[in-house]
Symmetry: C2
Subunit: 403 residues, 2 copies
């Protein structure tokens, strides 16, 4: 039995196809490439019940992942993050079945580890010796550390105001770390030139085809954790949108396999009012977004003014009767506090944005009270230590407390 049922790469724009054993980047037409599998063959030999006794990592879905030889798997135990019922917050929002998929419990503390684990493993398989990428921080941390584990050299470039903690992670990984006095788009230009000058593997978002496959596993896990019943709505904080594209791809593959039935969940892309290019495009009925000028939000991970895969995100929303919505920073902070106090979880601001959106969409009736809702917390709150500025009571040694 084969480890992977991957068949080929294809271009969602021009339809061109490619094999999976070369070092592929974008299609010759400039579009990101997607990965396809021989699902009809897989359907005959694998039943979902067989997964139950497999290891609790995303590699339990190895038939649906692109790595063809198991010895190339680079793993730190990532995946099968918990799907946590939120019994207090759901009451507070007037809902009956609200779950958080908690991507804080993963190496490097964010969902970026999924893309890095699968992307780096496949890079190793196709013989990559050195990769390069621009990053707003968390993706760089994940790729730097997984590349170190794979023995692949990496060059990682982040803007000066990327979270310091991610700078430290990249440095510790032994990557070549560069900090640019500019935006991620400036870092991207410098990486682009270095990729050409030195013939490096470009691991920028969607410029290699495999990180989507890693992020896809969030969708596979949600379906399995709900016992192959699909939820009604999935909300995802959307910067580059790769997670949403991946979840949509996963659910379609599961339908083809016959492991889930019925209507796909409605997918909601959540952005910040300070950077909402996809929301704007969706509201205006366009197929692609425009660069968002002077973007600003404390949810750094969704500060992406123009995503290469915007058209795929808009497709996913469209085909699932989904929604695109922006929330402001004040709502993000309020929701982060509520989730901590009522549910005991310190979520990241991007995750809090998604919960703020659940609340808004419940209020305006787009989410019904009996619907099953899954909201993604894309990372651990501790990766943003300064977002809370407590003013604790200060005591001297001999003090006593008065209640």
């Amino acid at each position: 039995m084969k480890y992977s049922y991957v068949s080929h790469l294809y271009c969602p724009k021009c339809g061109n196809t490619y094999g999976t054993n070369g070092q592929h980047q974008l299609c010759t037409c400039g579009s990101p490439l997607l990965v396809d599998y021989d699902l009809e063959k897989l359907k005959k030999i694998l039943a979902p019940a067989e997964l139950k006794s497999r290891d609790s990592t995303l590699w339990r879905y190895h038939e649906l992942l692109p790595v063809e030889d198991e010895s190339n798997v680079v793993s730190l135990g990532e995946g099968m993050t918990p799907l946590i019922p939120l019994c207090e917050i759901e009451k507070d929002m007037g809902l009956g079945n609200l779950f958080m998929k908690d991507e804080g419990l993963i190496p490097t503390g964010t969902f970026k580890a999924r893309g890095a684990a699968v992307g780096v493993s496949k890079a190793k398989e196709v013989g990559v010796k050195e990769l390069a990428m621009p990053t707003n921080g968390n993706a760089g941390a994940a790729w730097g550390l997984y590349a170190a584990r794979a023995g692949i050299e990496s060059t990682i470039m982040m803007p000066n105001d990327a979270p310091k903690i991610t700078r430290n992670e990249v440095a510790l990984s032994g990557a070549n770390l560069y900090v640019v006095n500019g935006l991620i788009s400036d870092a991207g230009k410098i990486v682009g030139k270095a990729v050409k000058d030195y013939d490096l593997y470009d691991a920028s978002t969607l410029k290699e085809p495999y990180r989507i496959e890693g992020k896809k596993t969030m969708g596979l896990e949600i379906a399995e954790q709900l016992n192959w019943q699909m939820p009604d709505v999935i909300l995802y904080p959307t910067g580059g949108g790769v997670g949403l594209i991946g979840i949509y791809k996963a659910l379609k593959e599961l339908k083809t396999l016959g492991w889930v039935k019925g209507k796909l969940p409605r997918l909601a892309a959540v952005q910040s009012t300070g950077c909402a290019p996809i929301v704007k495009a969706w509201e205006e009925g366009r197929r692609e977004s425009e660069f968002w000028q002077n973007s600003e939000t404390l949810a750094f991970g969704i500060n992406v003014p123009k995503a290469l895969g915007d058209f795929l995100v808009l497709d996913a929303i469209d085909h699932t009767d989904g929604f695109a919505i922006a929330v402001d920073d004040e709502s993000i902070i309020q929701e982060q506090t509520k989730v901590a106090r009522m549910e005991g979880s310190f979520i990241c601001p991007e995750g809090a944005a998604a919960f703020a959106a659940v609340r808004r969409l419940r209020e305006n009736g787009w989410i019904g009270k009996d619907e099953t809702v899954v909201s993604l917390n894309t990372g651990a709150g501790i990766k943003y230590p300064d977002i809370v500025q407590p003013t604790p009571k200060m005591l001297e040694k001999d003090d006593t407390i008065v209640k």
Copy 2:
């Protein structure tokens, strides 16, 4: 079938016993209490193979945990952290089978979540409305957040130099946060008085009997993840030592159940040369440790000058032909860097201390080259963001890189 096979509490010093439905703290003789189970009955009705299809959290071992009614379980998906093979570091150390049990992948990012999940769940079961504790940071973060999830009020007191990130976690949980201009021992005194004055549940280390049970699950998981074969050596960074006591207790229970066979692993307690009371006591052949004056180490979590359960740690080392060893801060930093560069994992300084000890004990021959070794990384490196001080290359927008 019962959810828990807990039978009673007992005192390891004077032998007194207690039931499990009251709010118990220390024994009347002043010793911590331990939890016992009806293992003979459990042995007849549960086989380890049945665990395989259970949820991937520490609650898969619910028969061996003290919570008697499942509805009292307070969970954020904790447990079943990965046991990661370290193929590069093991070569570097001259070993063939080195694993890291990675406690970074758990709510709040440290193993303290295990004690808090089980401790808070049992506190809820016995009707606790408010708890109080002193903390060096990570335990307070875990107990504050789990208490919030349980709807239990909490008062948490930490020294001024506890990691800021943990202060933020406690504040966000809605706990009553106090910061003391002093040491954890000073915080402990103020908590002790508050516990009496206001009749609070004292959740200080080992002053309630149940957090050991949570930490015990590290031992259960190691055994299950190695397919019920025991390793030769387990190393544990030791501050209060509850994890080591718990692992030892777990392995003894598994032997009684007949789920593991043969000699118990040799347990090694790893401390810092700046705070090594247990190492000193062990070297001098004493049964208890003495307060370590002017303790100092960058591995904040093992800066515990005198542990209430020191005699239990020394017992565990003794009964398993174990070892106690101290490593210096420089070795800790070196090992942390090596693990990141060679294995792709950003471990915490306490975890790095344990790996530095593996290296030393291999060098001096106490660990043989063919032995199977498990070393605990007790938390995520990102909880200590300032431990790395990178000096990245700085670029302007129009720069190019030269390799």
